[in-house]
C-alpha cells in the first residue's frame, strides 16, 4: 500500500509534488486520530500515566481514584498558563483597560478625619460645576453589605460617620479626571470629630462611641468585633513542663502589594441590567452585595471579572468603590470608570492584620508537645471584612502539623480607626505560625535537641485528626522535612556556621479550600460547579466561575479536562469572566480553586467521556472498559488499529441530542466537630510545607540578608509543576517582604505614613535569595488527581525559617 487510504480520490498516485506541496485534490491523510494543530496522533505518554494503570509515572504515595482516567496528556507536565500569550502581548484586559464608549470618570471623596460624624453634606456647589454628571453620598446607599453574611457593616459611602482616614464619603462622576478632582473640592461638609482608637489594646476597653454598634449583641461598649475561646485536650499536661517557651510578638500590618490598583467600570445597559467590570477574586460576593446595595435582583446584574493584576486576598471583598461606580452610572446614565491611585489602594487595604500574639508552649520529658497556649489580639481596622474568620484562623490553624497534648486559644479582633484589615495570602495563619515555630526552636534549644528532630518527633501522621478535630488526609510533612534537611545540608550547617551566618527551619500548614461555603449550607449546595459543552467542532468549552488571579486556575481547569478527554490543551476553552455564563462560584480564596473547581471539572469531563465511549461502543462493538481514550482517538485496548477518531465518536454521540453538555459539581464530605467555630479551618485537605532558610547578618549594622531557601511544599500532586514552583518562589518573596522589609507604618497621630510603593518596601530582585523549590507529592485521596493547594501554604514557613536562622 502506498500509504494512502481508500477514500483518497484519484487513485494511488503520489500525494505530494516535487516541490513538497500537496497535489491538487489529494489530501495528505495522516494516520488515524488526525486533527487539531498536530496532524498525527500522539502516542500515549507513559511517563505521565501512573504505574497503577500500567504507565511509568512513579507513585510513592500510592494510587488514586482518578488514576484510571489519566491519559498522560497534560497533568504533571510543565505548561505555560493558557492566558500567558495575552499577558505577554499586552492584550490582557485589567480593570483600567476596560474602555467603554461615552465613559465618564468617577472619583471618590475620602475622609480626612480618623473618626468623625458627618453632620451634613452640601453638594450644591458640586452639582453646579460644569462637567459634573452625577454626585452620590451616603444617602444614596442606605443598605449595608459585607463579605461575610454575619458581619455586614459596610456602606458604599459613609452614612453616619467615617471610620478611618480614607473612608469613602461621597463620589462624583465627571467628563474628565481633572473636572472630577476639582469637584471633590466643592463638597461642604460639617464634621463632628470623635475620639479615635488606634491601639488594639485600647479597643478592648469601653469607649464613648464604639466604632460600630450591634445593638443588644454588642460587647458592653467596647470595640471588640469578635472574641474566640477554644480549649481542647488535657490541660493538666502543661502543669509540670519539661521545657517551655514563651513568646510575645507584635506584628505589623502588611499589604498585598499587588501591582494593579483597584479599578472598576460600571455600565447600566439599555435593558436596565448592570454590567460591572472589576478585577475581583470573588465576583460572586460583589454580585450579592451589588444586589443588596442597589436594590436590584441578582439576575439583573452581570459581574464581569477582568484579568486580575494580582490578588493575594486583597481583591476578595465586595468593595465600596464598586458600589459607587454602579450608583454613579445609574445616576449619570453613562458608563463610569473609577481607577484608584496607589494611595487609595492603601486606604482600602484589607491586608494582613497587625496583631499582638502571645504563645506559650510546653513539652514533656519525651520532647512531646504537651500544650499550646495562644492569645491573639488582632487589629481589624474600621470594618469587619473577613475578620470573623481571621479570629478563628489565628488559633486553629496552629493546631497542626503537630500532635498536641492540649490546646488553648483566646483571640479577639477589635475595630480601630485604621483602614480595614482583611484576608491576605496565608489568611490569619501567618503570624501565629511564625510565633509557634520560633517557640518550638526555643524549646529545642532548652532541650538541646535538633529542631528538625523535635518537629519530626511530634508530627501528625497521615489520615489522622488534629486536636481541634480537623481531618488530615494526605500528609507529606515528614518527607518535606527530610528533603529540606538533606537539600540544605542541615546537619553540617546547623549550629556550626560562623558568626553572622545562620540557618533556620520553619514548617507550615494550610487549608486547601474552606470546608464551609460562606453563603450557603454545604449539605444543600455544592462548593463548586463547572459546566461543559462540546459542539460539533470538537472544541470543549468549560464554564466555571473560578477566578484566575494569576495563579493559573484557568490553566488547572483546562488541564484536568484535557487530561480526562485526552485532548490537546488548546482544544479546551475556559470561559470564566462573566457571571452571566459561569455557574455560581465562590471564586479564589482559601486556596480552594484547584481543589474544588478542578474536582468539579473532572466530574463534568467524566460525563462527557462516558458519552463518547458509549458512542464508540456502538460503533466498534467493544465495551467502554476495553476502550482506550487517547489523543483524539478512541481505540480497542488490545488492537489500537481498531478505533474511531474522537470527532466521529463525538458526532455519533451528538446524533440524538446535539451538543454534548455536562455539569459537574464538587461538595466536600461531612467533616469536623460540633463545637462553636468548628467550621473555621475545616477543609477537605490540608497542605504542608517545610522550609530551610540561610541568612547573612551583618553583626554591626544588623542588616539581614536571606541568601538561600530550600522550600519543600506538599501540594498533593503537582498538576502543573511550573505553576507550583512559581507559587512557591512567589510565596517566599512575599513572606520575606513581611519578615524583613514590609510594614504599614502608622504614625503617632494614627496616620498611615507609607501609602506608596516607595516607602512600602517590597523586595526587589536584588533582595531575593536563591529559592530551591522542592515539590512533595503525597497524592491526596480527594484532590483532583491527588492535588492540593499550593498558593497560600508556601508562604507560612518562610517567616519562622528566617527568624529562626537569625
Amino acid at each position: 500500500m502506498s500509504g494512502g487510504y481508500r477514500q483518497q480520490p484519484g487513485g494511488s498516485g503520489p500525494t505530494t509534488r516535487k516541490d513538497g506541496k500537496r497535489v491538487a485534490g489529494k489530501q495528505a491523510f495522516p494516520p488515524p486520530g488526525s486533527g487539531g494543530s498536530k496532524p498525527k496522533m500522539a502516542t500515549r505518554d507513559l511517563d505521565f500515566i501512573p504505574e497503577s494503570v500500567g504507565g511509568k509515572e512513579p507513585q510513592p504515595a500510592g494510587s488514586h481514584i482518578h488514576d484510571r482516567v489519566r491519559t498522560g496528556t497534560s497533568v504533571g507536565k510543565e505548561m505555560p498558563l493558557v492566558d500567558s500569550n495575552a499577558k505577554v502581548t499586552g492584550q490582557a484586559w485589567y480593570g483600567d483597560d476596560v474602555r467603554l464608549p461615552n465613559e465618564v470618570i468617577g472619583k471618590i471623596l475620602r475622609s480626612p478625619h480618623h473618626y468623625a460624624r458627618i453632620k451634613s453634606i452640601d453638594t450644591t456647589r458640586v452639582e453646579a460645576l460644569p462637567g459634573v454628571l452625577a454626585v452620590a453620598t451616603g444617602a444614596d446607599s442606605p443598605h449595608r453589605f459585607g463579605v461575610l453574611p454575619v458581619t455586614k457593616d459596610e456602606h458604599a459611602m459613609a452614612v453616619e460617620k467615617v471610620r478611618h482616614v480614607g473612608d469613602l464619603v461621597a463620589c462624583v462622576a465627571a467628563i474628565d479626571e481633572s473636572t472630577a478632582l476639582e469637584a471633590l473640592n466643592l463638597f461642604d461638609i460639617e464634621w463632628e470629630i470623635l475620639e479615635p482608637v488606634f491601639d488594639p489594646k485600647k479597643g478592648l476597653e469601653d469607649a464613648d462611641e464604639p466604632i460600630h454598634w450591634r445593638g443588644k449583641y454588642h460587647l458592653a461598649k467596647t470595640n471588640v468585633q469578635k472574641r474566640v475561646f477554644q480549649e481542647f485536650g488535657d490541660r493538666s499536661l502543661v502543669e509540670k513542663p519539661h521545657a517551655e517557651s514563651h513568646g510575645k510578638w507584635k506584628m505589623a500590618g502588611v499589604h498585598h502589594g499587588f501591582t494593579e490598583p483597584h479599578a472598576v467600570v460600571a455600565h447600566w445597559d439599555p435593558n436596565g441590567r448592570l454590567q460591572l467590570y472589576t478585577p475581583q477574586q470573588v465576583p460572586h460576593y460583589t454580585h450579592r452585595a451589588l444586589s443588596t446595595v442597589l436594590d436590584v435582583p441578582m439576575h439583573q446584574i452581570n459581574v464581569i471579572r477582568t484579568f486580575v493584576g494580582g490578588g493575594f486576598g486583597g481583591k476578595s471583598d465586595p468593595f465600596p468603590h464598586e458600589m459607587c461606580a454602579a450608583i454613579l452610572s445609574r445616576k449619570s446614565g453613562r458608563p463610569v470608570r473609577i481607577t484608584f491611585d496607589r494611595e487609595e489602594v492603601y486606604w482600602i487595604n484589607r491586608g494582613r492584620h497587625p496583631s499582638h500574639i502571645e504563645v506559650k508552649m510546653t513539652a514533656d520529658e519525651d520532647a512531646r508537645i504537651s500544650g499550646f497556649d495562644i492569645d491573639a489580639l488582632i487589629d481589624g481596622g474600621g470594618f469587619a471584612s473577613f475578620g470573623h474568620v481571621t479570629s478563628y484562623y489565628n488559633g486553629v490553624l496552629a493546631t497542626a502539623p503537630y500532635e498536641l497534648g492540649s490546646f488553648h486559644y483566646t483571640g479577639a479582633r477589635v475595630w480601630t480607626n485604621k483602614p480595614a484589615s482583611g484576608a491576605m495570602r496565608g489568611h490569619g495563619a501567618v503570624n501565629t505560625r511564625c510565633a509557634v515555630e520560633v517557640g518550638l526552636d526555643e524549646m529545642a534549644e532548652t532541650m538541646q535537641v535538633d529542631p528538625i528532630d523535635l518537629r519530626l518527633a511530634n508530627l501528625l501522621p497521615p489520615h489522622s485528626r488534629t486536636i481541634s478535630g480537623f481531618r488530615i488526609t494526605s500528609n507529606g510533612m515528614r518527607e518535606a522535612l527530610e528533603k529540606v534537611r538533606t537539600g540544605s545540608n542541615w546537619d553540617e550547617k546547623f549550629r556550626k556556621l560562623p558568626l553572622g551566618k545562620g540557618i533556620g527551619i520553619g514548617c507550615g500548614f494550610f487549608i486547601s479550600g474552606s470546608g464551609l461555603p460562606i453563603h450557603w449550607d454545604p449539605n444543600r449546595f455544592p462548593h463548586a460547579t463547572v459546566h461543559m459543552q462540546v459542539d460539533m467542532d470538537g472544541g470543549v468549552t468549560v464554564h466555571t466561575g473560578a477566578a484566575d488571579i494569576g495563579q493559573g486556575s484557568t490553566t488547572a481547569v483546562a488541564q484536568v479536562v484535557s487530561e480526562v478527554l485526552a485532548l490537546p490543551i488548546e482544544m479546551i476553552h475556559v470561559r470564566s469572566h462573566e457571571s452571566d455564563t459561569s455557574p455560581v462560584d465562590l471564586g479564589s480564596y482559601s486556596s480552594r480553586v484547584t481543589f474544588m473547581n478542578a474536582n468539579a471539572a473532572i466530574r463534568a469531563a467524566l460525563e462527557i467521556r462516558e458519552q463518547l465511549l458509549n458512542a464508540a461502543w456502538e460503533m466498534l462493538g467493544y465495551h467502554p472498559n476495553n476502550l482506550v481514550l487517547n489523543d483524539r482517538r478512541i481505540y480497542y485496548k488490545h488492537d489500537p488499529a481498531v478505533g474511531v477518531s474522537y470527532l466521529k465518536a463525538l458526532h455519533k454521540a451528538q446524533e440524538d441530542k446535539g451538543a454534548l453538555i455536562a455539569s459537574g459539581a464538587y461538595r466536600s464530605p461531612p467533616m469536623g466537630g460540633v463545637h462553636k467555630g468548628a467550621a473555621a479551618g475545616l477543609a477537605p485537605a490540608y497542605s504542608f510545607s517545610a522550609y530551610v532558610a540561610e541568612v547573612d547578618v551583618d553583626v554591626e549594622t544588623g542588616i539581614i540578608r536571606c541568601t538561600n531557601v530550600w522550600a519543600a511544599h506538599d501540594c498533593g500532586k503537582a498538576l502543573n509543576p511550573l505553576a507550583v514552583k512559581g507559587q512557591i518562589i512567589g510565596s517566599c518573596h512575599m513572606g520575606l517582604g513581611q519578615v524583613l522589609s514590609e510594614q504599614m507604618v502608622y504614625g503617632r497621630t494614627g496616620h498611615l505614613q507609607n501609602a506608596n510603593l516607595l516607602d512600602y518596601k517590597i523586595p526587589s530582585v536584588h533582595e531575593m535569595p536563591h529559592v530551591e523549590p522542592i515539590i512533595i507529592e503525597s497524592c491526596d485521596p480527594e484532590g483532583p488527581f491527588g492535588a492540593k493547594e499550593a498558593g497560600e501554604g508556601p508562604l507560612l514557613p518562610i517567616l519562622p525559617a528566617v527568624v529562626n536562622a537569625v
Binding site: 487539531g36 500569550n85 502581548t89 483600567d96 476639582e182 494593579e260 512567589g730 516607595l758 517590597i762
Partner: protein, 212 residues
C-alpha cells in the same frame, strides 16, 4: 493670522474661596513614532507620557501601577532605552521612537522574550509583565549573553509580586539563548495548522495489528 490660543481658566481652592487661578495648560499636537507607526494627537503641554499612551494613543498594554516610578509597570522603550512613562512628560519625548509591549512582537511572531516569559512562567498575574518585557528587551538588544547579575540590574526597577523574580530571570536567559541563535524561536500560535481538517479518515484501511 492665527487667533491666539483659547485659554481655559481653571478653578482652584484658595482657603475656602473658590477662584479662577491658573490657566489650563495649552494643548498642542504631539507627534511621535509609537511601535513603528507615526502618531499625532492633541495633548496638554503638561501631559504625562503614560496618560498619552493609554488614553490617546490607545496602547493599553502600558500599565499604571503607582504613578511615581516605583513599580516599573509603565516602562516603555524610548529610542531604545527603557524609560518610566509615568515620570516622563509627553513633551520630553516628542518626535522619538517609542516601543511599548504591543510593539515587541513582529506581526504574529512573538518576540523571543515574550514566548519565553510564557514558557518559563515569568508571568503569573501578568500586570507587571509589560514593564519587565521592555526592560529585558532593552537589555537583550545590547547584550545577548547577560549574566544573572546583569539581568538583575536591568530589572531592578521593576516590581513583581507574584513570581519572586526567579522565573523571570530564567525567562530572560531563555530569550537570550534564542537571540544568540542557539535555540529556535517558537512558531506563531496563529499559523495555519498543517491539517486544517480535523476529521481525518476514521477507519484506517489496515489489517488489525497494523497500527502505527
Amino acid at each position: 493670522m492665527r487667533a491666539p490660543p483659547r485659554r481655559l481658566w481653571r478653578l482652584i481652592m484658595v482657603g475656602s474661596e473658590h477662584i479662577k487661578m491658573i490657566p489650563a495648560p495649552d494643548k498642542n499636537i504631539w507627534s511621535a513614532e509609537v511601535n513603528g507607526a507615526p502618531v499625532e494627537v492633541l495633548v496638554a503641554s503638561n501631559a504625562i507620557l503614560l496618560d498619552v499612551l493609554r488614553d490617546k494613543v490607545g496602547t493599553l498594554g502600558v500599565k499604571r501601577g503607582c504613578d511615581m516610578g516605583t513599580c516599573g509597570c509603565c516602562t516603555v522603550m524610548v529610542d531604545g532605552a527603557p524609560r518610566l512613562s509615568c515620570l516622563c512628560l509627553a513633551g520630553q519625548v516628542e518626535g522619538s521612537e517609542i516601543t511599548t509591549v504591543e510593539g515587541l512582537a513582529d506581526g504574529a511572531h512573538l518576540a523571543p522574550i515574550q514566548s519565553c516569559f510564557a514558557e518559563y512562567g515569568g508571568s503569573q498575574c501578568g500586570f507587571c509583565t509589560p514593564g519587565f518585557l521592555i526592560s529585558a528587551q532593552a537589555l537583550l538588544n545590547e547584550n545577548d549573553t547577560p549574566t544573572e547579575q546583569e539581568i538583575a540590574c536591568a530589572i531592578e526597577g521593576n516590581l513583581c509580586r507574584c513570581t519572586g523574580y526567579q522565573q523571570i530571570i530564567e525567562s530572560i536567559q531563555g530569550a537570550a539563548a534564542i537571540h544568540r541563535g542557539e535555540v529556535a524561536a517558537a512558531a506563531p500560535a496563529s499559523d495555519a495548522h498543517p491539517d486544517p481538517h480535523p476529521d481525518g479518515p476514521d477507519e484506517p484501511n489496515m489489517p488489525p495489528g497494523h497500527a502505527r
